[in-house]
Amino acid sequence: MKLINKKNFFPTVCTVFTVLMIGKVLLEAVFQGVFGGYQGNVLMMFFFSLLGTFVISQHYRFQNLPLLAVIGVQYLLLVSVVLGVTWLGSFVEPIHEEGYRDMFLSFSVPYGIAAIVYYISLFYEVRRANRILDEVRRKENERI
């Protein structure tokens, strides 16, 4: 049996890369006492990835709610967590005066782009589905 196939190749690469990066940061912190802005950023990115994946994994719980409402509430929740974590981080290390704005933009812009892409792809899927429905209908009528 192939352990790594086409489907799990990239997820495996991502997992290995993450383990190496986090391992490196932690080992450097423990054995060499190195923990600066770079290491902090890596751990923060890891934390946000965990959070984002968790939120997306909970989508199935909100199937009966309008998607725009889910996206909006999800955005407010996540942006609060991001800014909250930044605020907590300010007790460990001072935040630049534009730090909150930068964190807000760093989160909001990719989130907005992803939401727009999803929105457009949905309408594209609907258009394609209608084209197929028309085609199937036409062919069935031709055969009658």
Binding site: H59, Y60, Q63, N64, P66, L67, L68, A69, Y119, L122, F123, E125, V126, A129, N130, I132, L133, E135, V136, R137, K139, E140, R143
Partner: protein
Amino acid sequence: MKVHYWKEPSLKEDHVDVHYRKESESVEMIRNFFLSFHSIMGKKDGCTHKLYPGSIYYLEVVDRKLFAYQEKEVYQIEGSLGHFLDYYGESGFVQISKSAAVNIRKVARMKADLNMRLRLALDNGEELILNRNYKKAFLEALYRLQEVYHEIDQ
């Protein structure tokens, strides 16, 4: 695939013979299509009626009872939605929510409103909501149907 129609008034019963070289998606589709001519029993007002799955627009579970909706009539049928889909799933029935399934051949249009809620407009004017969890399965069934028609054309 070549299709011939023979009108023979002297026949005692209409029949269809399918000649094929090997199993393929279109053969499977034809088999499933004719499976939809098998009748099932539906109850309405205490009377039992014969229903053809192909005439059913959609199915819905209400109070743990399974109902089959035709163009205008509604019948209660025995069994669960899962069992029905196990048997007739390949005949064009696709689950669209936890408690409903639609006959894909009766879907006229798919619509998305501003809230990104997907609706299926049926030939009889009714609209059903396609739950986002089942969108992928519905689209895959539609793509399969299109492939089969392409295969038949070749």
